[in-house]
Symmetry: C2
Subunit: 365 residues, 2 copies
């Protein structure tokens, strides 16, 4: 991995509806706009923006978000972010978003290596993570492949997707670059246990590096319906004006499903140089919330009597009192209260579905 590294770009995917973080998160205020990482008081998007900025030129990182969130995102980020803000007319999951990011970089900087990162995660130390991203960018430029990021597992996680790695292609200061043998969906516990011991399986951090043309070629080959819908956009440097009409026609699907899992020749940087967690549900938030000796993550003013392993939070500053309870997630906002069993964070969306079925859209907006 020696030699001159081409100018890097970083794109942050800041879509996401936040249904797993109701009632804190709403359609108008999804998780990436909330301070959900207990180790950092800033909203997640602001934190990741600053965290990747040292990798970028003076223009800073790119941010892909829903148009409806434009004003909120602009308020959150420094002024320079406006020029590299890509607003999706409607949410279409990550496949279209990554294509937009690749095209935006290509139009501004040509075939500059580009790293795509999610916006809701906990990572430490940030410097080791940045070093891995820089390594991925350099490798993507050198190999002309899409390079993913895989973390050596520290426990049999059933909440993450996994990658099976193959032959070692190169050795770097952040870990080995290896072939990707296959993508694995979130596994059952027995399978995850096997993976955690295998030495071949890695957590898939949903992070990619590529040269824009390399990704867009794969996008066209593996996701022709999406590519066709986006042709008016991807074929011009004046693409922003064409988004409103073309983008809604892109099927809503993830870049993993539409492109990565179908593309041979992927590479993975297999690293163990940092700790990482997907802040995908309140359970993950609870893991990083800074618990006391009884495992409770409370704020000043909260009261715990015989309570253990509980997370409590409110966005209106009112106290939460816990009495004789264990393993709960308690979230209060000005218009709703959620009390969930720890470990059931993923199912908060069932609560959202129930509210929608009951006609309570007012509590979801």
């Amino acid at each position: 991995m020696a030699g001159k590294t081409p100018a890097r770009h970083v794109a942050i995917l800041a879509g996401g509806s936040g249904t797993r973080f109701w009632p804190l998160a709403r359609a108008s205020r999804p998780k990436q706009l909330l301070p959900l990482d207990g180790s950092d008081p800033r909203p997640l998007l602001a934190a990741v923006y600053d965290r990747v900025a040292p990798l970028c030129d003076d223009g800073g990182p790119w941010v892909v978000a829903s148009r409806s969130l434009g004003p909120a995102v602009r308020r959150l980020l420094p002024a320079r972010a406006r020029k590299r803000l890509v607003l999706e007319p409607v949410p279409r999951n990550t496949a279209g978003a990554v294509a937009l990011a690749a095209h935006a970089v290509r139009c501004e900087a040509g075939e500059a290596p580009t790293v795509v990162v999610p916006s809701a995660h906990h990572v430490a130390p940030a410097a080791a993570w940045r070093k891995a991203l820089a390594t991925m960018a350099a490798r993507a430029a050198a190999s002309g492949r899409i390079v993913t990021l895989g973390l050596a597992p520290t426990f049999p996680a059933t909440g993450f997707g996994w990658l099976e790695a193959g032959r070692v292609l190169a050795r770097t200061g952040s870990g080995d670059v290896r072939e990707v043998r296959r993508y694995v969906e979130k596994p059952r516990l027995a399978v995850a246990r096997r993976f955690a011991r295998s030495g071949r399986h890695l957590w898939n951090l949903g992070t990619f590096a590529f040269l824009p043309g390399v990704f867009l070629d794969a996008f066209a080959r593996r996701f022709p319906v999406g590519a066709k819908a986006l042709t008016p956009v991807l074929s011009t440097r004046s693409w922003r004006g064409r988004l409103a009409k073309a983008y809604p026609r892109v099927p809503a699907t993830s870049v993993d499903y539409a492109v990565m899992e179908r593309e041979p020749g992927l590479e993975v940087l297999a690293t163990e140089s940092f700790v990482w967690d997907d802040l995908g549900s309140l359970d993950a938030v609870a893991r990083h919330a800074g618990a006391d000796a009884r495992g409770n993550a409370l704020r000043e003013g909260d009261v715990a009597v015989d309570a253990r392993r509980c997370l409590a939070t409110s966005d209106d500053g009112t106290p939460v009192a816990l009495l004789g309870v264990e393993d709960l997630l308690v979230v209060r906002t000005k218009d709703a209260t959620l009390v969930a069993r720890r470990g059931r964070g993923e199912d908060v969306r069932k609560v959202v579905e129930a509210l929608r079925a009951a006609g309570r859209e007012d509590l979801l907006r």
Copy 2:
């Protein structure tokens, strides 16, 4: 129990600080001012006032409450209640309150049989309960004794005080009048189980009937410190003007402890003609809240996903969503949220103590 029944009076004890019902109840809005009986939408005091009114003359029941609650009580009750409202300058538990009630009745009606009832309970059918109270009043007039109310146990309750009954003194349409052998504090479960089977033990409903002079003689004999403090009040028909100075000197203690447990010759009406529950904690409220098939007592708009045996309530109309939780008491008010394990309702006062220790009197007022 044949013969003419003298004109009856009923006094409702509506003191109580409500610390076991925080955050719903506050010093300024104790439980008796809240609608805590799921079978009746009215505040408890309004419900019990109407429930005993058929026993009374046109002046209606007497109500003994804290002076600080005077305005709230007046708003709650019909206009006629004002003349029979006795306001304690400071809360002094029930010993002084019952003496005040007895003296107030004596000043207005002479030695009229008087029934003293608590203000926070669930009872059904009300007519059977009223019949028992009328029977107690008639018996108190006939025997010249203090007559308490004992309910045949239907389960080994550890949350109630009990009475051990002796010889049958009279038979009535509401049950036998029997000697009281002894008072028993809230027992441990093993003891309660024995009591529930014995046939001699009754739940002590904290309800008394007496002729005013009979009670006040017992008060003077068994609680001389209190009687001395109240002498300026109890020795005049213009007693209201003397309360402010004398009443604070009465030791704060219960009428059971100060008088009843020490007084020989008590009688008990042993009945099984109604179901009754002390609404002394959120656990009792949950028992009468009208649960659905999964045991959840929720309001319209609340959401339960895989939740069982939970009570949820708020005083601001916002919904509570429960996910994967069991046996919880969830209470939300505009300035606080409580999440407690069912069965720990008595310990809500520990939460209140913790808030007081943390200087959060603002959440208790």
